[in-house]
């Protein structure tokens, strides 16, 4: 139905009904001729009647549907288009990306403000003072390139007056949108009205979310716009990497992340004191169980069973935590990194594989290509 509005047709609006240009074939023309006798035409010209077909300015229009029912039921009629319009509306008021929930949500805050400062270079020189949240956001702003658009969005995010106005209108039970006046109109005009009406409906349906957003944004009202822009960017992309530390959102709905730290290149020695240069990899821990360190890339190491990606690192006497806190995330990551870089004992040849070949008939991983 919306396609009809998009077609730019000349339409008639009467008693909340849309009338579309009548399409013809010989039978329809015959019917029209019998209905619209010259003597009957007078009445129809003077005023609209509740008829299936009306004539206006020598053109025939056929009754379509009620405009308000289209707005009310559009979600069922064309779910895809409705979702598109809904997103457009929510984006206009920065309600789109669950930003408010993410701002309140603990995981991202923990990663950003408690875990990350442990792994990145915060201060120049040897000073080791603890950074405030604002200083961390400043640091992130310096290290990552936040696109210009997010600064504009941050301003809109902080402007809570339109949201307050919407809430007030909904509370006062003001009509969603006044229907356009009766008479001849263009499809494009009606399409614009329809879009605004759907937006008004979306906002009234999202009243709880708007109320929550207003509450959250009031809390954030003292934060600098550039910090809001940084947070919006991080929330949007769900990933970030600074100084070898980073995180990736794995599941947008459940807010699960992989938090990782690059190991950097390192050298291990075998039983015969020969050196093996291991390439960089990302040691990660996920925010969902099991809270064990693993290597994200396809990688081989004496402590990894196979040569593939996402393998847990073999650790002796390691008890994964039951609950993930900032301290435990740091602990698990460090445990994994330490194991890879310093855990292998060439005398004992501990782990799944030995760096030097043992010449036994057990299939094993070969590290010859890493030897230097």
């Amino acid at each position: 139905m919306k396609q009809l509005l998009d077609a730019g047709l000349e339409l008639v609006l009467e008693s909340d009904f849309i009338y579309f240009p009548l399409l013809f074939d010989p039978d329809i023309e015959k019917e029209i001729q019998t209905v619209f006798h010259p003597e009957e035409n007078k009445g129809i010209f003077n005023g609209y009647e509740s008829k299936a077909v009306i004539k206006l300015k020598d053109k025939y229009f056929v009754k379509g549907f009620r405009l308000d029912t289209l707005v009310k039921n559009y979600e069922s009629i064309n779910p895809h288009s409705y979702q598109h319009m809904k997103n457009e509306c929510l984006r206009r008021y920065q309600l789109m990306r669950e930003v408010d929930e993410t701002f309140l949500e603990g995981t991202l805050r923990t990663i950003l403000f408690q875990v990350m400062p442990h792994f990145i270079k915060k201060n120049k020189g040897l000073s080791r003072k603890k950074l405030s949240d604002e200083a961390i956001l400043d640091l992130i702003g310096q290290k990552i390139n936040v696109p210009e658009g997010y600064y504009q969005e941050a301003k809109m995010f902080m402007d809570i007056d339109p949201l307050k106005e919407i809430l007030k209108n909904i509370e006062n039970q003001a009509p969603l949108l006044e229907p356009p006046g009766n008479g001849l109109t263009s499809g494009y005009k009606l399409r614009d009205w329809f879009r605004n009406a759907v937006h008004a409906k979306v906002l009234s349906d999202e009243v709880d979310r708007i109320a929550k957003s207003v509450q959250v944004r009031q809390q954030f009202s003292r934060i600098k716009p550039e910090h809001i822009a940084t947070l919006l960017y991080i929330t949007d992309t769900g990933s970030m990497e600074i100084d070898g530390f980073g995180f990736i959102r794995k599941n947008a709905d459940r807010k699960e992340y992989h938090i990782y730290k690059h190991s950097g290149d390192y050298i291990l020695k075998d039983y015969y004191d020969r050196s093996y240069l291991f390439p960089d990899c990302r040691v990660a821990v996920s925010t969902y169980t099991p809270f064990r360190p693993f290597v994200m890339e396809k990688y081989k190491h004496p402590f990894l069973l196979e040569h593939k990606s996402g393998q847990e690192i073999c650790l002796k006497n390691f008890n994964p935590p039951d609950e993930l806190t900032a301290k435990r995330i740091i602990g698990v990551l460090e445990e994994g990194l330490t194991a890879l870089r310093y855990g292998y004992d060439p005398r004992r040849r501990n782990g799944y594989h030995s760096l030097d070949q043992l010449w036994v008939h057990i299939p094993t991983i070969d590290f010859e290509d890493y030897r230097i």
Binding site: P21, L22, L23, F24, D25, P26, I28, E29, K59, Y60
Partner: protein, 152 residues
């Protein structure tokens, strides 16, 4: 029940069975022409070409080496068009009063309906369906020329 009643009963049954039978939808001139009008976006000015089309079809002006291929399009079973298109369609149907019109698949073919019908009103529907009207027109012209030469 006598024989007359039996016959009547059978007759009624046969008649009803015939009524229940599916009848194929016959091609309709309006559907065909209105579809062409819609597809090619024809306007009222198209009607003016009818008056001049004969001038362009003199043997000297027609390119006998140009053979057009007919590409029949799938037309809808029922066609509904806007008012202007409807009036144009009806005007075309009134102007081209030949049985060949239903086989026209493009505006050129609509224009060639009358001249072709005048040259040969007995072309079979299969021929009209498979060959472009311009090809048929050239063929008929050539036939006529040959006959004239033979007579001379």
């Amino acid at each position: 029940m006598d024989i007359g009643q039996m016959d009547l009963l059978r007759h009624i049954k046969d008649h009803r069975a015939k009524q229940r039978q599916k009848k194929p939808i016959k091609p309709d001139v309006f559907n065909q022409i209105s579809s062409i009008v819609k597809q090619y976006g024809l306007k009222e000015s198209f009607l003016d070409i009818f008056d001049t089309v004969e001038d362009h079809l003199t043997p000297k002006k027609v390119n006998i080496y140009r053979i057009k291929v007919k590409t029949p399009a799938v037309r809808p079973l029922f066609s509904l068009v806007a008012e202007e298109e409807y009036h144009l369609t009806m005007s075309i149907i009134n102007k081209v009063d030949t049985p060949y019109l239903i086989f026209a698949d493009s505006p050129d073919e609509i224009l060639l309906c009358n001249p072709l019908y005048r040259l040969n009103p007995a072309l079979s529907s299969e021929t009209l369906m498979h060959y472009h009207f311009e090809t048929l027109f050239l063929h008929e012209c050539a036939k006529r020329n040959r006959m004239n030469t033979n007579r001379e």
